[in-house]
Assembly symmetry: C2
Homo-oligomer: 462 residues x 2
């Protein structure tokens, strides 16, 4: 783009959203050149902060006319570089479209703009005795639009599902500039193709979501967790299977390998024992008695599977502390080295122990520190590599190791991304999982929504 | 198509699936000219019974080369004429691809071919202590592939969701003849666009599903129901809201209007009282104590909302009989006149009473008998019109009435189809709900999967 054309583009953007809501200074371009994914960076030409659907539509129309990429962005907490504007263009920052429009308790739905922080939504519905179940790790800063864009998961996946299971309706601007509305406050709707779930997880490549209708559930009265230490992850994995086979659907079923347990204990001093091969955190919600009964059942199963030690949280504070320890895994690993690479290979839950064994073997062979934790009930693993990128050849080793890890996940019937998304980071692995006919189909679907290829180009469907 | 071309097509079909698995006789063409939807009928040229994916692929390739429509069909129980071969061509009857391939208790999934009857799947998983929740009314005869094709709902939608919520993986043949695999035995998977849920409910217009991976849940230990009679549906509707506001997510929440109650009692003699304005059936599953507690809570709520009479099932047989009465509504209505038209307009659940009032007013104005029952928790209504089609002008009146009913559903923020699908029956209402830009988008998506427009042409996306 020539300097003149660029100046004209900026002028038109200012006319659409107001001069104070367009940023083209180097500081802003630097901030919006990256998201939470290490090693990926590219600056946009401009950052726009629209206030509503009409402005989004005008920006998309302008982008279409000028062939300018438009990359929509919530809080930029994603871990796949899905919001890095790799080809430049306009970043559409949704922070002004952040209103909670309605909590409809009779229909158990919330209506929100995409820029609403997930935690604000969760708190507001909780104040009404309701629960919005998806709880990605970044929920204190992430936005609900970003959650929908990535189909975010979280710790409640096994029992409650993920973001797509709570999306009932949306308004969205297509790459053509047209506005569509899908679904609404209805639990059942089969009128037309399921565009809602197609847009969910499409990472801003198909449409810009401008309003969301989300399903809520009654908040459970009680919640508590317990801990079980095992000699090995294989034993912990067996207990996971036995818990489910016993007819329990736990609200929480998280695991930490020994690297993670030792690291988090060294950092947070939560009183975890560090001599075990694996730690399983199990939890249940519901009425007080069900929670009590299910925790005791799970404790019994873990003990009979040979757990070294099993302990139930003594009180709510204890539950809180155990969960905080789990949430501290990532920051504590991150302290070990300048660079932390958090991944999310996912396998059928029966293969978790096997997958962790393979990760351990791969880490040793490449002489890397990789701690693995994750959602045992979902088979969703977060192998996390901590490394000093200054060390010669270190990043190449990490690359090779993760390539082997993803190949292992696929070989075990899994996926290269359970909840983080494809973005730029997983692009090279996607074709291996989907095959060329499906990749070509993604491109045709992308073209159906965005014939000018202006929405987050170079990512999914490109 | 010339007679010669037709003869050559038949010959090639016989070469693909074997002569004994191609039917071109008038008897077969008549049987496969309709499904469970009244008033729609058109014969195919041939009916094929493939035995596996390769044969399906060959048939699709042949259809592509010859421009022949291919209409996939399970048990033909759908209520939107989605499997009527309106443009002729080949009906692909999946009755030979009916194997349950695997029940994987460790991963809580079942793998099946599409022709497997839903009830067979349900029984087989129940024998393993598991539950496949979707339970469409036709489940004793419907197939799991047909359920996925229509994204079938059922009585458990409020608590458990619908078919899309249980679809984890599929193998499918595109209109191009290419085979794709999506998802698998993983609960979380965001690699690529969500083709799984896009194919779910696409009524055979995007791809032919040849294998399915389905999510299961632990079977609840107990289940029971209760009854509440109200003066009016408005009062019953208020109780539905209060039950949910009280934090209960019931497994069953069905309503019958007075027409339905009187008709079913006259037919089945289930001991229902016929002097009430509405009947609410509420149920819960879970452990024995939770079921007991929740039923008592719901009974208390109904009483304090002014229910005329509230009664809890005294035993499992009693629960069974109450559900049988609910299931007898449709056959009992059907006895009133030669033709029964069962619809499924859906509104936000808070608008149910309002919607039923409008249906009653519309029925009276058109001098029609329309009984309404349905899934109160989902806002999913089944206004059912019984009529003698021989009576001059009767069908025109029905047409006008349903046009007004669907307009009312849309005006109340609902949908023209909650669970039955679009097919041919709802085609003329779809554009009113979705608008022209979305209709054009559906056509572009259809073309992405099926560029030759051979898969169930003239339906969704045409």
């Amino acid at each position: 783009m020539t300097n003149n054309a660029m100046a004209s583009l900026f002028e038109q953007l200012r006319a659409i959203v107001g001069a104070e809501h367009v940023r083209t200074d180097l500081g802003a371009l630097e901030v919006y050149s990256r998201d939470a994914t290490p090693l990926f960076q590219h600056p946009p030409s401009a950052v726009c902060f629209p206030s509503g659907t009409t402005e989004v539509q005008s920006i998309v129309n302008l982008a279409g006319e000028t062939g300018t990429p438009v990359v929509v962005r919530g809080a930029g907490t994603n871990l796949s570089a899905a919001t890095v504007p790799q080809l430049g263009g306009i970043v559409l920052a949704m922070s002004r479209m952040n209103r909670l429009l309605e909590i409809d308790t009779a229909n158990l739905v919330a209506v929100a703009q995409p820029g609403l922080p997930t935690a604000e939504l969760a708190d507001a519905v909780a104040a009404n005795g309701l629960l919005y179940p998806p709880d990605p790790g970044s929920r204190t800063t992430s936005t609900i639009g970003g959650n929908v864009g990535t189909c975010a998961g979280g710790l409640r996946g096994l029992k409650y599902g993920v973001t797509r299971d709570y999306l009932l309706g949306c308004e969205a601007v297509l790459g053509t500039g047209e506005v569509i509305r899908c679904g609404g406050k209805v639990v059942k709707d089969v009128a037309g193709f399921d565009l809602l779930r197609l847009v969910c997880g499409s990472e801003g490549t198909l449409a810009i979501i401008t309003e969301l209708t989300l399903r809520l559930v009654p908040a459970p009265a009680a919640y508590a967790v317990g801990l079980a230490y095992f000699e090995s992850l294989a034993e912990a994995g067996a207990s996971v299977s036995h818990v489910l086979a016993d007819g329990i659907l736990p609200a929480t079923l998280e695991f930490l390998d020994s690297t993670c347990v030792r690291t988090v204990e060294g950092y947070a001093g939560a009183g975890l024992r560090t001599d075990a091969g694996a730690l399983l955190i199990f939890g249940q919600d519901g009425d007080v008695r069900t929670v009590q009964i299910d925790l005791e059942r799970m404790a019994r199963i873990c003990r009979s599977d040979g757990a070294i030690e099993v302990r139930l949280a003594a009180c709510d504070l204890d539950t809180h502390n155990i969960l905080e320890a789990r949430r501290a895994v990532l920051p504590s690993l991150a302290r070990l080295a300048p660079l932390t690479i958090l991944e999310d290979a996912t396998v059928p839950r029966s293969r978790i122990a096997e997958m962790v064994d393979r990760i351990t073997e791969i880490a040793e062979r490449h002489q890397l520190v990789i701690g693995t934790f994750g959602h045992a009930g979902d088979g969703n693993l977060h192998p996390t590599c901590v490394v000093d990128p200054q060390q010669p050849g270190a990043l190449e080793e990490v690359d090779h190791a993760f390539e082997e890890i993803f190949a292992a996940a696929l070989a075990l019937g899994g996926t290269v991304t359970g909840e983080h998304g494809v973005g730029l980071a997983k692009q090279k692995f996607l074709a291996k999982q989907l095959g060329e006919p499906q990749m070509a189909l993604l491109r045709r679907i992308k073209a159906a929504f965005d014939p000018g290829a202006i929405l987050n180009p170079g990512k999914l469907g490109s």
